[in-house]
Every structure is written in C-alpha cells, then in structure tokens.
Symmetry: C2
Subunit: 125 residues, 2 copies
C-alpha cells in the first residue's frame, strides 16, 4: 500500500477534522443523514470494550495524557492496542505525539464535550 500512497496526491484516508461542533441534543431535532454518519463514527469508536477502556485510561490519566506503555494492559496484544488507538485517532477522539522513545496520547476535550451535549437532553429532564 505504500506504493499507492507514493503515487497518489496524498489523500488522507479519513477526514480527521470538524468533529467537535456537530449537532444539537438528540432530543431537540432529528439528525440528518450526514450528521448521523459523522456522529456515528465517534460512537462506533467508543462501541468496543477495549477502545472504551483505552479511552477512559487516557482521559483519566494526569493531564489527559498517557504513554502507550501505561495503558497497554487491557488484555489484548500490543498490535491490537495500537490498532485500536489508531481507530480512536481516526475518529478524532485522540491525538498522538511522539516525545523521544515513547508515544503519548491525549483526549480531545472539545469532542468529549460535544458528545456529552448530544446526550444531555435540553428539555430539562
């Protein structure tokens, strides 16, 4: 696949942007097909037990940041952990940064807030 990447004009596999300010609360208005498609990607990313646990490990870590070595003890092999972290990154929920030997993952606070707003009914209840 590295060949294709070199030949093509570097088209990114997923649109990694514009996930934060998405939609009003679900109780307020039915989502359009486009809105649902974009939002469902985030929910789907959290729809796997391993990913949800990895995400909570990063989110609850000090400073909302965690090294892979700190969170790779979730019961699956390390390639699988890397695979899931990549999925979370593609969904816009995490960002990664390499500092020296280790790679650190951080949560995207705006995305968290947006998803929370989606599920927080504005109707008072």
């Amino acid at each position: 696949m590295s060949n294709a990447e070199a030949l093509l004009p570097i088209l990114e596999p997923e649109a990694p942007a514009a996930v934060a300010p998405c939609c009003p609360p679900l109780t307020e208005r039915p989502l359009t097909a486009e809105e649902a498609a974009g939002t469902a990607k985030m929910f789907k990313a959290l729809g796997d037990p391993v990913r949800l646990r990895l995400f909570s490990l990063v989110a609850s870590h000090e400073g909302g940041e965690a090294c892979v070595c700190d969170i790779s003890d979730v019961g699956v092999s390390q390639p699988t952990v890397s695979h899931h972290l990549k999925k979370l990154k593609e969904a816009g929920l995490l960002t990664s940064e390499r500092r020296g030997t280790w790679v650190y993952y951080r949560v995207e606070p705006s995305v968290l807030a947006a998803m929370g707003r989606l599920l927080t009914s504005a109707t008072g209840a």
Copy 2:
C-alpha cells in the same frame, strides 16, 4: 419461533436491565473490563448511522414517543428498520409498546442521562 418460546423456560437473549446508573465520567476513573463491556454496548448501538438517526427521530418526537410508521423513512427497507429498532431495544435505549395496529417506541431518559454524564467531564473543562 413461537414454538421455541413455548418449549423453553423463557430465557431472555440479552440482559435488558441495569444499564442506567453505570459509571462515573470517563475523565475521572478508568473503566473496568466489566463496566467497559456494558457501556460499550450502548455506544455500539448508537454507532450506526441508521440507528443513530432512528434514535434521534424517536427522542425528538413529541413526548419522546414515535410510531414506527413515522420514522421508517431513513433510506433502508422496513425489515432493516425493524432490525435496528430491535438492536436499540436490546441495548436498553428504547422501549416498545403495541397499541392497536401500530407499535410505538420510546426513549429511556435515564439511559440518555447516564451516557451524557459519562462524557461530561467533571474536571471543569
């Protein structure tokens, strides 16, 4: 299927209870494997565009209740709509009730609130 139900001791295929008061916010504490497994089911249920749209259609309907005939216009066949509604029901997000000819679906407000709390960071940000 009516035969099997009559013969077997009525074992339910999915545990339909105890989904509402689950976990503290994700930013507060890493989820255990059990918590993640249970919570991921709800996120997974909303991780499909069609299901998310169906859910928003029901949630935003008057009284948080909608007939299937009102929400079955999401671009897929009616059996598929029924299939997705069943999934949402199994995840504890919806409840169904038959009134005469039509079947009405309603949202479970406590579940919505619980999921919103999960994503609402208590750290102030």
